[in-house]
Amino acid sequence: MLAYLILSGITTGALYALIALGITILFKAAGTVNFAHGELFMMGGFLAYTFVTLLGLPYLLALALAIAGAFVFGIITDRIAFRPLIGSRALGVVLATVGFAFILRGTARILWGGKGDYLSLPPLFAPDPIIWGPLIILPQQLVVIGGTAIVLALFAAFFRLTRLGKMMQATADNAKAARLVGIRIEHIYTLAFGIGAAVAAISAVLMAPLTLLYTDMGFALFVKGFAAAALGGLKSLPGAVIGGLLVGLIESLAAGYIASSFLDISAFVVIMVVLIFCPSGLLGGPAARRV
């Protein structure tokens, strides 16, 4: 029981970690949170569904196209709902991205709604469960965990080794100074939106075979990813991963040991308690008190 709960907790936790990663990358770079992130996740999943199931493209090509498509949607989000608002208050960006989220959701409902509410995406490997002692492991769970690990490794390398990654880090560290040394920070913001959306699409593709796709899935996942990112302090990439895994594990254990209905709510209880006692997250460092 415990081993099973931990395995499923880590699987969902890995997905929350990827969503939180996208949120954190954007927050580090641009100091804002994209409330359409969950809808970008949903769009990534539906694009993959379109390419794989409706158009019958080869699986890996379809995934690459879906991720590229989500990247483009991320850039559109930046152009429509963020760039006109640079220099205005955080509330404006939040509301603009909320508005964009509703546009995306309504569009998805027109395009993909009405074909049965829940759509399924075939998994990468045939679902032949591995039985290991008392534990039944779905291959897709391993794909999720492995895929997350690969994405995380790629990001670590990207930020340490590439010029672009270092430019993003410089912008996150000090936007004014970054501009002084010649970094076009608007482009970095755009890139952060695109990368966040692409990561969201990867997590959607990994998750869809396990859960199913539906147009209203975005917001709940966004809030959980946001909670995970905030647990990690919103500014730390390892923090986002740890936060995501924690949220996944807490959900799974609460659902297993208390009541299954607690699955949806335990993360929110935890995040409220954490925010009240550590206002900038568990890994957010000492709180900058803004009385």
């Binding site: 429509i80 205005s88 509330l91 404006g92 939040v94 508005g99 569009t107 905030a230 929110f268």
Partner: protein, 371 residues
Amino acid sequence: MSSLALANLPAWLVGRRTLGCAALAAMIVLPFFANPYWLFVGNTLLIYVILTTGLNLLVGFAGQLAFANAAMFGIGAYGTGLTQVDFGFPFWLAAPCGMFLAAGFGTVLAFPALRLSGLYLGLATLAFAQIAQWVFMHWEAVTFGAGGFKVPPVSFAPLPVSNEIGLYCLTLLIAVVVVLLAANIVRSRLGRAFVAIRDGAVAAESIGIDLLRYKALAFGLSGLTAGIAGALYSGLLNFVAPESFDLFQMMLQKAMIVVGGLGSIAGSVIGATLLTLVLEALRGVKSWQEIAFGALLLGFVILIPNGLADFLRRRVPGWREPLIHPALSGDADDAIAEPVPAPIPAALQGGTLAPGSLAPTSAALEGAARQ
């Protein structure tokens, strides 16, 4: 825009108060002409006026990025409905129970708000809203679960009016009282304190504004109005169910105050009216409702960030709303990373310093003062 026909009319004719009175007169005569459907729409509209007026105090004036108003609305409705069903209270007794329950929860939310600001506060209140929604859904022994429950109709027994018209008149009366009270609050010491907190919490505290007290008041007042609206809503529908108080509801109220004008009481009324009618026109086509609503929200934030009220204030000579403040633009503690000066001369682009970036902003000065 000076060619706008309204601008040529005498100020007293198109003043804010004149237009307000005209709107009020229209709402008063509505029950005499309207069929039951339009009476229902009018009643819904008035409930949204009550909700958005309270929410604007919290978000537009006090500047707190809170997402819990739909939950307060729900707590008011559940409090009213459940005391009627479980204890057999009449509506007159049950409604204040729901109201004060919501105000209580609202006030409690001010405590996290004292430690959190900006997006963290948004997340904490979002979590609270999700928890409230979950309690409505899953605490079946008390709330009757996801299916909701029926509430007895509100009776105006000794008065010679039908239930529907009676409730409409009651809602209208409360809406007028709430709007007038709010308009007075924002001109009082309280309203000025809210605006001071929004524009700079540190500065506000340094001139003697007790943050806990005023934040608690802002959250409590918006909770109270949301509670009243919830009580009336349960009476209007005769039915209470969790999905009426979900995130869409929250974002809808947010969109109303943005469209109407953050930091403007008249704006709350205008935004509530406009969005209620738009959503009513698109009723039944959820996707188009979402698109229209999202596009309105996005379009207003970007193109008319201070809402229709500010637009009217600039264009209509008699508008003259006191203390209307741009709530979205301008320097603030939480301004997005780097204000980029709009026209950067080509010669200066690509590495050299942009003009204006050496001029200290008020936010920067405040940061310096904090160190």
